[in-house]
């Protein structure tokens, strides 16, 4: 009986204390007809040794590719200390700090996190996390509607370069509450939203969403977009890559007044790629809007002796108090990821994070130069980017990627699926983890593949 500590004596004596004959009897309030006997479809138990071997075999199948995929999840070096400490039982196996006095560790970590992420985004306050970047955008849209009481609109406009996945998730989560999502046109030459056309036509939206860098890697003209939105009374939701903020102007400084709500995917801050999760969504805002924030918030206070301490605060926003009128239904969030991110940010510091950002930028510049030296490959835009860029190929990206993958090089994301309008486009990314040799390996392989396919094509 894995993980069950009861001895036969225990069971007997416990049943005696209860006054039951058998454990089965404890289920006597459940209608007999519903009770089942076996669990078909669940294989019999493996011991830890067996499951260890199984999982090693499975993991070995997934190993060791050189990846240039970004598109919302980024490979960065994660200091060894981060996960060695994060998985300490005291963090790993605790829950939401409902008993503040016995949870000061988790609470102080979250307070430090809130401080860091608010500062990094140039905002005043932060919550303790949301599920991920995509769902955070949905929550931000709902928050904007609550916060922008002056607006009657339920329309939310995404700047053209915003992740289509984020748009879909916002639709799935917030669409049922009657929010209407629109996408503004993308300037096809520059791969960013055209500030002129951003809010053209239609009724003014309750909020806009601006992603910086946008999904295509390009740096938007955030000042113009922000001011345009504010001019029509819309709130500005900024979606940002947190790594970039060590280098790039934060949303709090966009335009005249800065963004109103900032959110994004926290994964780049010390969270492994892990096939897509767990990551965490962050959300920060102006102090004035704090009561509209969804999710937990930790505050600093004092105990009865005047000693400083930390506790969950502003809980009246939350489902367990406000129930159907809560700012969100979120309960369990992504606490452990935030713990990792806090350590990551602490050990990197501003300078370290800026170096990571700068190295990622430089390696992507090198990557783009290298790959565009291959015949049939060109840069889609001449716009400044952060650490991703769109390449245009002379043939469908899918075929090329498949060939590269055979050599364990994952060459980027085929934009053909979500962005057919861009033609044969490939989104590539390099971070500080990619060396010059890695880039050269990709270039050489790409040249070979393009050449081989080219000659195949002309031969065929």
């Amino acid at each position: 009986m894995p993980f069950i500590p009861h001895t036969e004596t225990d069971i007997r004596e416990m049943l005696d204390a209860i006054g039951a004959e058998s454990i089965d009897e404890l289920f006597d309030e459940i209608p007999e007809s519903l009770r089942i006997e076996g669990l078909e479809g669940v294989p019999s138990a493996l011991n830890e040794m067996q499951v260890t071997r199984l999982m090693h075999e499975r993991a070995a199948q997934d190993r060791d590719a050189l990846s240039f995929i970004g598109a919302g999840a980024y490979e960065h070096h994660i200091p060894a200390l981060v996960w060695q400490l994060t998985t300490r039982g005291e963090y790993y196996s605790a829950y939401t700090p409902y008993q503040a006095e016995a949870s000061q560790g988790t609470l102080q970590v979250i307070y430090e996190y809130q401080s860091m992420i608010a500062s990094l985004t140039g905002m005043e306050v932060s919550n303790a996390s949301l599920y991920d970047g995509a769902s955070a955008v949905a929550e931000a849209a709902l928050m904007a509607v609550r916060a922008n009481r002056k607006s009657k609109s339920r329309r939310v406009v995404f700047a053209g370069g915003t992740s289509r996945t984020y748009q879909k998730v916002a639709q799935a989560i917030a669409g049922t509450q009657g929010l209407l999502f629109d996408e503004s046109p993308l300037d096809p030459a520059r791969g960013i939203a055209d500030p002129e056309q951003f809010l053209a036509g239609d009724e003014p939206p309750v909020a806009v969403v601006i992603q910086q860098p946008n999904f295509l890697g390009n740096l938007e003209d955030v000042d113009a977009l922000t001011d345009a939105a504010h001019a029509v009374g819309a709130l500005v939701i900024a979606v940002v890559n947190p790594t970039s903020l060590a280098l790039i102007r934060p949303p709090g400084e966009w335009g005249e007044k800065g963004a109103d709500i900032v959110c994004g995917e926290g994964q780049p801050l010390g969270v492994p790629l892990s096939s897509g999760g767990p990551y965490f969504g962050f959300m920060t805002t102006r102090a004035a809007l704090v009561r509209q924030l969804p999710g937990r918030i930790v505050g600093r206070t004092v105990d009865v002796d005047g000693k400083p301490g930390f506790t969950l605060t502003l809980q009246a926003r939350e489902q367990h108090i406000r129930r159907s009128k809560a700012t969100s239904n979120i309960c369990t969030n992504q606490g452990l990821m935030v713990t990792a991110a806090t350590m990551y940010l602490a050990v990197l510091g501003e300078e370290g994070l800026a170096r990571v950002a700068a190295a990622s930028h430089r390696q992507t510049q090198k990557l783009v130069s290298a790959l565009t030296s291959v015949r049939g490959v060109e840069c889609a835009y001449d716009t400044p980017f952060f650490h991703e860029a769109v390449l245009r190929l002379d043939r469908p990206a899918a075929d090329v990627l498949a060939r590269l993958a055979e050599h364990d090089v994952l060459g980027g994301l085929d934009l053909g699926v979500d962005h057919p309008e861009l033609g044969n486009a490939l989104l590539v990314c390099a971070t500080e983890t990619k060396t010059d040799e890695d880039i050269e390996r990709y270039r050489a392989l790409l040249a070979e593949v393009m050449n081989e396919q080219g000659s195949l094509a002309s031969a065929g």
Binding site: M1, F3, I4, P5, F27, P31, L34, G38, A45, E48, L54, M55, R63, D64, A65, I69, H77, L85, T87, Y92, Y95, Y98, A102, Q104, G105, S115, G122, S126, S135, A172, T176, P272, L273, S275, G276, G277, V290, G299, V304, T311, T313, H320, S324, N329, C331, T332, G335, M337, T339, A346, L348, G349, E350, E351, G352, A358, A359, Q365, D408, E432
Partner: protein, 492 residues
């Protein structure tokens, strides 16, 4: 000892140089075209500390937590059971944690196979027809479920159905979810024995009924005995049944929500399937659906064909309610649940419900014998049960919160307090199956000692906790003098 904030340990110019690129930012950016207009010039509060300082700070902070790994943690409704350490290390094998979510399926067959089998096992234990692993916590599972119910009615042109019935004992996420899905919440009363008031239910259902959200066993710690009747009433009225799987641990291997008549269910894998709670998350709220909701299941899910395992997405499931996350959900949590389930196997899984129930009933009886008042004395406990301290509160001004704090001093995490809201001064106690009888006995002893102090030394209980890093905190001040982000200035 108070642990200074990491910001207070910062000194200008200090770094942890092994952790960043060795070149300076200026040198890295030489020759790069990053327009000045985009460059940040403002400072952040990110601390300037050494690697040792970081290690020491967060190690010391960790010691200020109660956790399953250090304390009995009978937090009702949360299923704080042992998180096997193998689940952690195996889910963090390089092959798993380095895999990009958008990497090709050819490079993820190992992971996909695990997910495929997990889907299957979850179907099996819940009696549902389809499973999507994508929701990232219970509440998101709920949202998924209600959204599917809504989509189902809409697909049938049944547009008026926008009411969700929710018992008054329900967890806050249930009504909050209904609202988030654009539905109206209709609250159902509970009868004196903890069951849903059937008459009230009959009154409540009608042509506007989209569905009902139930937890069974309920958050009152008792099994809803009239579940088949409830299912019939709701179904007959044209509504669907949502099962909040937070309490699945109580019945694992004993009875299946699908068999009870539920159309959709979420499972908190961080409860029943023992993935860590992480100080507040991440969890996973995988959903299972019956026949009717299959077309609406959120994407992606894992399918299998001759070439192996592959993702099924919007193109495969055009009626899907869509995507709930940037990628596929909390993969690492799902792996942990998968590993746990493989170690339990069919038999082990059955034992979970049995021993969770045994522990709860034993603890309930012993506390009752020791003089504590049960909220539902005529009922079996499920995997948890409620005691109410309303008498103590009235007669001695010692509240459930006071007792909770006194327990901390004895090294026990407190049970859930003040939930469910309808039982006054309640403690919702969930020991889980992984705690030994000795531990339960020690908990009873501690409760008895506290009960004695209620009369002999009530001040000592009001003063509790005294052994923790801080004593009771000023929550009012926390909310009034809001300090939720450190700033250079506010401490300098």
């Amino acid at each position: 000892m108070t642990e200074a904030l990491i910001f207070e340990q910062s000194r200008p110019g200090r770094t942890a140089p092994a952790q960043a690129p060795l070149e300076s930012v200026d040198s890295l950016l030489e020759g790069c075209e990053l327009p000045a207009a985009h460059r940040r010039s403002s400072k952040t509060v990110l601390p300037e500390v050494s690697e040792l300082q970081v290690v020491r700070h967060y190690t010391r902070l960790s010691q200020k937590n109660f956790s399953i790994d250090t304390n009995f943690y009978p937090l009702g409704s949360c299923t704080m059971k042992y998180n096997p350490r193998a689940c952690n290390s195996l889910a963090m094998l390089p092959g798993f944690i380095n895999r990009h979510p958008l990497g090709p399926e050819t490079h993820g067959q190992g992971f996909l196979e695990c997910m495929y089998e997990l889907q299957d096992m979850l179907k099996s234990v819940t009696g549902m027809q389809g499973v999507s692993l994508t929701p990232m916590a219970g509440a998101q599972g709920e949202l998924t479920g209600v959204a599917m119910i809504r989509a189902y009615h809409r697909a049938r042109g049944d547009l008026a159905r926008n009411e969700i019935l929710v018992p008054d004992a329900a967890h806050g996420t249930n009504p909050a979810t209904a609202t988030m899905c654009g539905c109206k919440v209709v609250e159902l009363p509970t009868d004196s024995e903890g069951d849903v008031d059937i008459e009230a239910l009959r009154q409540a259902v009608g042509p506007n009924t989209a569905g009902i959200m139930l937890t069974n066993p309920s958050t009152l710690g008792v099994f809803e005995r009239k579940i088949t009747e409830i299912a019939k009433i709701v179904h007959d009225a044209g509504g669907l049944l949502y099962y909040d799987g937070a309490n699945l641990n109580a019945i694992l291997g004993k009875v299946r929500p699908g068999d009870m008549g539920f159309d959709v269910i979420h499972m908190n894998l961080h409860k029943t399937f023992s993935t860590p709670h992480g100080g507040g998350g991440p969890g996973s709220g995988a959903v299972g659906v019956g026949e009717r909701l299959l077309p609406f299941i959120p994407v992606p899910i894992v399918g299998k064909d001759d070439d192996g395992y592959r993702w099924l997405d919007e193109r495969d499931l055009p009626q899907s309610i869509g995507r709930l996350s940037g990628f596929m959900g909390n993969a690492g949590v799902l792996l942990r649940a998968y590993i746990y389930m493989r170690m339990l196997g069919d038999e082990g899984m059955r034992r979970v419900g049995e021993f969770a129930t045994l522990n709860a009933n034993y603890l309930m009886k012993r506390l009752e014998a020791a003089g504590f008042e049960l909220a539902f004395p005529t009922r079996r406990a499920s995997h948890e049960f409620i005691i109410t301290l309303k008498k103590t509160a009235r007669e001695h001004h010692i509240t459930a919160m006071d007792v909770a704090k006194a327990l901390l001093d004895d090294g026990f995490h407190a049970p859930t307090t003040y939930f469910p809201l309808l039982v006054p001064e309640c403690l919702l106690i969930e020991p889980t199956e992984t705690e030994s009888r000795d531990m339960l006995d020690a908990f009873v002893d501690a409760m008895v000692r506290i009960a004695e102090r209620v009369t002999s030394d009530p001040d000592s209980i009001h003063a509790a906790p005294v052994t923790q890093p801080v004593r009771r905190l000023d929550d009012v001040r926390a909310a009034k003098q809001l300090d939720i982000a450190w700033r250079e200035t506010n401490d300098a």
